[in-house]
Symmetry: C2
Subunit: 176 residues, 2 copies
């Protein structure tokens, strides 16, 4: 690995920080790597007893979309990814997961962010109540049969990478 | 959608910019959305005639890994995603794709980046020559049978979300 020379913080924001690292390559030449320093997130495939996936509908300012998303959220400081998964699922959908299983964790954007995405499967769901974060705009909940979800992935109907990955991980790991 | 009040650039970097938007919600309360303003990227599943997927091995400073990746790269200003896919594949692996097919495009990180990932399947490959970017550290090329790739996804052996998604998109769209 090339040699890390220095790291400085360029910006501290409410949701993420920006850092700059200087590296030296094998020829002794220095170069810059800026990156987003951010908390990681848990993403949940919540499957009802009749094999429907629970989605939320949320406004996203940056994509400009109000579309279906998997329940997901930032892992708080000192919190386990699995605890965050259970908490976010209930906050956003009202469902408490009596059973929750790890499916995998991956870097979201290998070039410029240290964010990891932790995927969980939640089953044996029990309806309790929702607690939205004050700055989230969740405008609905929708349950879609898993077979229909596969068709929606095939037809590129989900705009966010993590939805497609979550559904296909479930298919690979639990339906084959 | 909540109302956009203003946008300013907080930082201009060599690889991405940082922007701040102020929105007003339905109660008239203002809130901040910082985001990474960056070019989108093309990602290629390059499949040889004997059904092996072409990987590169690359040093990534931010993840701290030197691991397998799919050939991928930024779409240049004014360039089509498909042209970038073909160019990056050849630059990084030496393979020219006589056939290239769109598989889907998705937002990489829906909360804080405008980056989209364009996935392509490249087949009918012809070995020409590589042209690495000066600041990339590609340390090898490896071809892995597609069936083995599925097992590697199942066992969480690929650390980056986009590899797993690319392989599973191929499986869903071409092998079922």
């Amino acid at each position: 690995m090339n040699k890390l020379i220095s790291e400085e913080t360029l910006f501290n924001g409410p949701r993420f920080n920006l850092k700059r690292r200087i590296y030296e390559n094998v020829e002794g030449k220095e170069y810059i790597r800026d990156y987003v320093d951010t908390q990681s997130a848990s993403i949940i495939i919540a499957l009802t007893s009749d094999k429907k996936v629970v989605f939320i509908r949320q406004q996203r300012e940056i994509s400009g979309l109000e579309d279906l998303e998997l329940p997901a959220g930032v892992i708080d400081e000192g919190e386990d990814a699995i605890t965050a998964a259970r908490r976010e699922l209930q906050e956003e959908t009202g469902y408490y997961a009596n059973n929750i299983e790890y499916m995998g964790d991956y870097f979201a954007s290998c070039g410029y962010s240290n964010e990891k995405l932790y995927f969980y499967l939640a089953t044996d769901l029990e309806m309790r109540e929702t607690h939205y974060d004050s700055d989230e705009v969740i405008t609905g909940i929708q349950e879609i049969p898993i077979e229909e979800c596969y068709e929606m992935v095939r037809n590129n109907q989900f705009p966010y990478a993590n939805i497609n990955l979550g559904i296909l991980l479930y298919q690979l790991k639990y339906e084959k």
